[in-house]
């Protein structure tokens, strides 16, 4: 019961903290700009993809539809969302320490485990809201502005054209995996937050780790080959796998397991650290 009350507290704090709306506002602004740009000149962007095919073929139908717009929006923004998530979740412990409220919280009759898990849960709910908001703007507003149609996706092994009635479940699955990836970012930032007594450190460290892992993941250096499949950043784009045909289910499952594993590991590290942490500030 006290755990649920603590989670409610955390959600209230997130809801009433101006910083929490920065992410939502940033997403709204960025999606707005992308939608405007696509509305104004989307076809020329598509022609970059289709030009070599159009030497001998012709694409009939509404290529620039809501489903493609949503896909482009997600593709462009999903790399920026971790920063927006970390801005709030990276502050959940260290922000309390910096404000001096952590000593009040920890001197209350809630166990540190419950307190920390309530913060993880609240961070997860915030992350979910960010993903849902992005999904609403990308898919719902995208479809409203551009209509519904078949989705043309460019993969490294060719074009995949998915029928409109085959797309929605893929978005649902894709969003679930994207949420899991962002939840890992949330967990990482909260974990780093346990080690710090200032707000900025965990946020910057989270982004630094994501950047480092992404570079390791994209560098074509054989020495990194054994670790690359296990970096969580490698699986941050796994939501895209839902837009391949045939569906690479094994690869998706592997990503889900690795991301879940990361989350459990990070929660474990956080609990261990937070339990041993002396609240001296």
């Amino acid at each position: 019961m006290i755990f649920l009350r603590s989670t409610r507290n955390e959600l209230i704090k997130i809801a009433l903290k101006p910083r929490s709306y920065l992410g939502l506002a940033a997403i709204t602004g960025l999606v707005g700009i992308i939608l405007f740009a696509l509305k104004a000149d989307g076809m020329s962007m598509i022609s970059f993809v289709t030009s070599s095919f159009e030497q001998t073929l012709r694409f009939e139908g509404n290529l620039l539809n809501g489903n493609l717009v949503a896909f482009i929006v997600l593709q462009m923004l999903i790399v920026h969302i971790p920063l927006l998530v970390a801005l709030v979740t990276g502050d959940l412990i260290s922000g309390e320490a910096a404000m001096g409220t952590l000593r009040l919280l920890v001197s209350k009759p809630i166990s540190r485990t419950q307190l920390l898990l309530s913060k993880f849960l609240a961070g997860g709910i915030y992350t979910l809201l960010i993903v849902l908001w992005l999904g609403f703007l990308a898919v719902i507003v995208g479809q409203w502005l551009f209509g519904i149609g078949d989705l043309m996706v460019l993969n490294s092994d060719g074009l995949v054209i998915l029928q409109a009635n085959d797309v929605n479940w893929r978005y649902a699955g894709g969003f679930c995996v994207a949420f899991l990836a962002l939840l890992t970012v949330s967990s990482l930032s909260i974990t780093l937050s346990c080690f710090s007594d200032n707000s900025i450190g965990p946020i910057v460290s989270t982004m630094a780790i994501i950047l480092l892992f992404t570079i390791i993941g994209t560098l074509d250096v054989p020495i990194f080959d054994p670790i690359r499949p296990y970096l969580f950043t490698t699986h941050m784009a796994s939501w895209r796998s839902f837009f391949e045909d045939p569906l690479p289910w094994e690869s998706i499952q592997k990503s889900i397991y690795i991301l879940l594993g990361h989350n459990l590991l990070l929660i474990g590290i956080s609990l261990f650290t937070f339990h041993r942490k002396d609240i001296t500030v």
Binding site: T56, E60, G61, S156, G158, I161
Partner: protein, 215 residues
């Protein structure tokens, strides 16, 4: 010797008239259908593109106006279905010559090669495999400056009398297809894409026509 030479020239002269006549008969047959609507199922089988068959409604208006209405995205040859109608609409711009015979779909066909009279047009060369007995084109090979070579096979059924196929198989060359890597979005894929040398150089688009509504 003179007699033999005269025979040869006469033979070519005679044969030179036959393909033109045959082509003109085809044009005439084509002109009998001024407009129609037909349900089409388009099944592309093209390397580097994965797409499910798409149902569409194809509307034709003489001489070469095709409109395709599909619920989603469909892939067609660059000029759609208008390659042959365009040829039929400019019959005076070609010289038709006979270039042999071939058995196709179990039937004997005459091969008519169409050569443009001027060098300015888009058409470079067209070859038609014509079932002279039924006055049907069973195969065409059209080479244009802009689209390269497009080979189409035609299969006929109930609407053969109007020269309208039930099935059409278009073969397209795809060797110039390129995936713009910078725009490919699955950047985190660590499984390798197919070896480019193993990718087929040709693809097909199969179109099944049904329920012609001729007006």
């Amino acid at each position: 010797m003179r007699l033999i030479l005269a025979f040869i020239l006469l033979s070519f002269g005679l044969r030179a008239e036959e393909p033109t006549a045959l082509f003109m008969k085809l044009v005439k047959k084509f002109q009998t259908v001024k407009s129609y609507e037909v349900q089409a199922t388009i099944k592309p089988n093209i390397p580097l593109i994965r797409i499910l068959p798409v149902k569409a409604k194809v509307s034709f208006t003489y001489p070469s106006n095709f409109q395709i209405q599909a619920a989603g995205i469909s892939i067609l040859p660059k000029n759609g279905f208008s390659e042959l109608p365009k040829l039929f609409g400019q019959e005076e711009k070609f010289t038709a010559i006979a270039t042999g015979t071939e058995n196709l779909q179990g039937r004997d066909t005459e091969i008519i090669t169409l050569l443009p009279l001027d060098n300015e047009g888009d058409l470079v060369l067209a070859k038609l495999w014509v079932d002279a007995a039924r006055l049907l084109i069973l195969k065409s090979q059209v080479t244009t400056r802009t689209n390269g070579t497009l080979v189409s096979d035609y299969f006929y059924g109930n609407s053969a009398s109007k020269g309208l196929p039930d099935r059409m198989l278009v073969t397209v060359e795809v060797k110039k297809f390129k995936i713009p890597k910078g725009l490919a979005t699955d950047i985190n894929r660590y499984s390798q894409a197919e070896d480019p040398s193993k990718i087929k150089k040709k693809g097909t688009i199969e179109v099944l026509f049904s329920n012609y509504q001729i007006r």
